[in-house]
């Protein structure tokens, strides 16, 4: 037996052993539905979780909570100067970009696991690489700027100490949702670490939905656009007529 094969065998043994020891995780997400109404300005999702284990942990746990909104394709454009005017020139399209991404960890991501693991699990905005149709490159300016713009918009955020442990096994974290939060189904992925190894994971979900007038308007605009357009047109004419009658001077 060569050394390489022996190493692989040893690695597989550890892998199996690790998964056999995999800790159970339980999680609740509150609320399960975020209602975007006319007074909506921001929201918060609270995630409670606990590690199911019979024995006290040998080493402290670390947790990463990743909240992602519905995936989209996003095009990043770069402006260049043509004849003294700034014009969009080159662009790149990224697929499967979450419309919202919140990454909360109990310690800075680098302290949780190796960069390889972080990249594979997509923990931390630096490691969340999207399908660009080319080999991922952490320094790609189009990707870096996409992430930065989303951070400015409040749609991507990362809090390195956002997860607090209430006891040795129970933890809690809050994910703020800004007013421009996209609607749709959100997934909450929890990943448990100990001694730099990932030892368990679980997932949950919640929904962001427009309600009331907002839901009605948004749905009408896309599903019944003729009716919607005609109504707004009439609304304009009616408002104009009302004003001309109300303020009539002759």
């Amino acid at each position: 037996m060569t050394l390489a094969v022996r190493c692989i065998a040893l690695f597989l043994f550890f892998l199996l052993n690790a998964s056999a020891r995999s800790e159970g995780l339980v999680v609740t997400v509150e609320p399960s539905r975020i209602a975007v109404s006319s007074s909506f300005s921001s929201g918060t999702v609270v995630v409670f979780g606990a590690v199911q284990t019979n024995t006290p942990p040998a080493a402290p746990y670390d947790v990463a909570v990743i909240v992602s909104g519905p995936a989209q394709a996003v095009v990043t454009r770069r402006k260049g100067r043509i004849g003294g005017i700034w014009v969009n020139q080159d662009s790149r399209t990224f697929r499967n970009v979450p419309s919202f991404l919140g990454v909360n960890t109990s310690r800075p991501p680098e302290a949780l696991a190796s960069q390889d693991v972080l990249r594979r699990q997509g923990i931390g905005l630096k490691y969340a690489l999207f399908d660009a149709g080319v080999p991922p490159d952490g320094d790609d300016p189009y990707l870096v700027n996409l992430v930065n713009i989303r951070i400015q918009q409040g749609l991507f955020n990362e809090r390195a100490t956002g997860v607090t442990f209430l006891s040795q096994t129970a933890f809690r974290t809050e994910i703020p949702l800004p007013d421009n939060v996209p609607v749709g189904d959100y997934t909450v992925n929890l990943k448990l670490f100990q001694n730099g190894n990932m030892i368990g994971e679980t997932a949950s979900s919640f929904e962001v939905a427009k309600v009331g007038v907002e839901e009605f308007v948004a749905k009408a605009a896309t599903n019944h656009s003729l009716f919607y357009g005609l109504s707004i047109m009439s609304m304009g004419l009616f408002t104009g007529w009302l004003a001309s009658v109300a303020f009539r001077r002759d």
Partner: protein, 308 residues
Amino acid sequence: MQLYLPIADLAINIFTLLAMGLAVGFVSGMFGVGGGFLMTPFLIFLGISPGVAVASVASHITASSFSGALSYWRRRAVDVQMVLILLSGGLLGTLSGVWLFTKLRALGQLDLMIGFSYLIMLTTIGGLMLIESVRAIVRIRQKKPSLLRRPGAHTWVHGLPFKMRFKRSKIYVSVIPVWGIGYTIGVIGAVMGIGGGFVLVPMLIYFLRMPTVTVIGSAAVLTTSTMAFATLMHALTNHLVDAVLALVLMVGGVIGAQFGARSAHNMPAEKLRLLLGLLILSVGFRFGYDLITRPENLYSIRALGGDT
């Protein structure tokens, strides 16, 4: 109090929006223009995407120009025949404009085109107005009689074929320029989110020699029609008309317009034109400034929507 706008997908203070509607309405009532050239840029500066701004302002202008159109109609200051021909060009222009808008949006050049068209159009019109009104003011200061419209004065426009007699306006002119003006207004209205009153009125006066009695009323009726049509087309093709935004702007706009119209009563016409010229020019310069200065961030992103 924050108000969530369902299509723009963001929350904006309702009082900011109402105040903006009132202010723009005041200006529009004062100068007898739709005010779209102010409203659309304001919304863009507030963070609303240019697409939603242009599409929603179309419905706001429908309201403000309709209230004006009705009062001119009562005074029989509308040349229906003229409006119908302008409108046949205007509706086709609106269709072309909405088509162009959709294409530019897909190409990622919509913002550039909006900025560029605003720059060219506003600086040109603003500049011309400024020069003309300063000359008029100087003439009055020197106690010279103001230049009267000479009914017999003809331009190259009057040499075109397919002439038609417009009874209410008392002019005899080819339908080609009338149709062309309507088409142009339709296109710029749909692409730039303006009613185009401040372009339409000078065009009708200078090219067609239309008398002032019927020009403003006819322009208001045309603007109402093209903007109502643009609202419908934007709703059908791009789904970008925000009903909540539109309603707040409309309410502020029509109320503001009444106060504007009243305060304009005791101000001489050439001073009004001077002020309007300065206002238009400064908005134009603002767009020019944005085009030539290096943007803070060279990169911009746009979600292509839907799933991947």
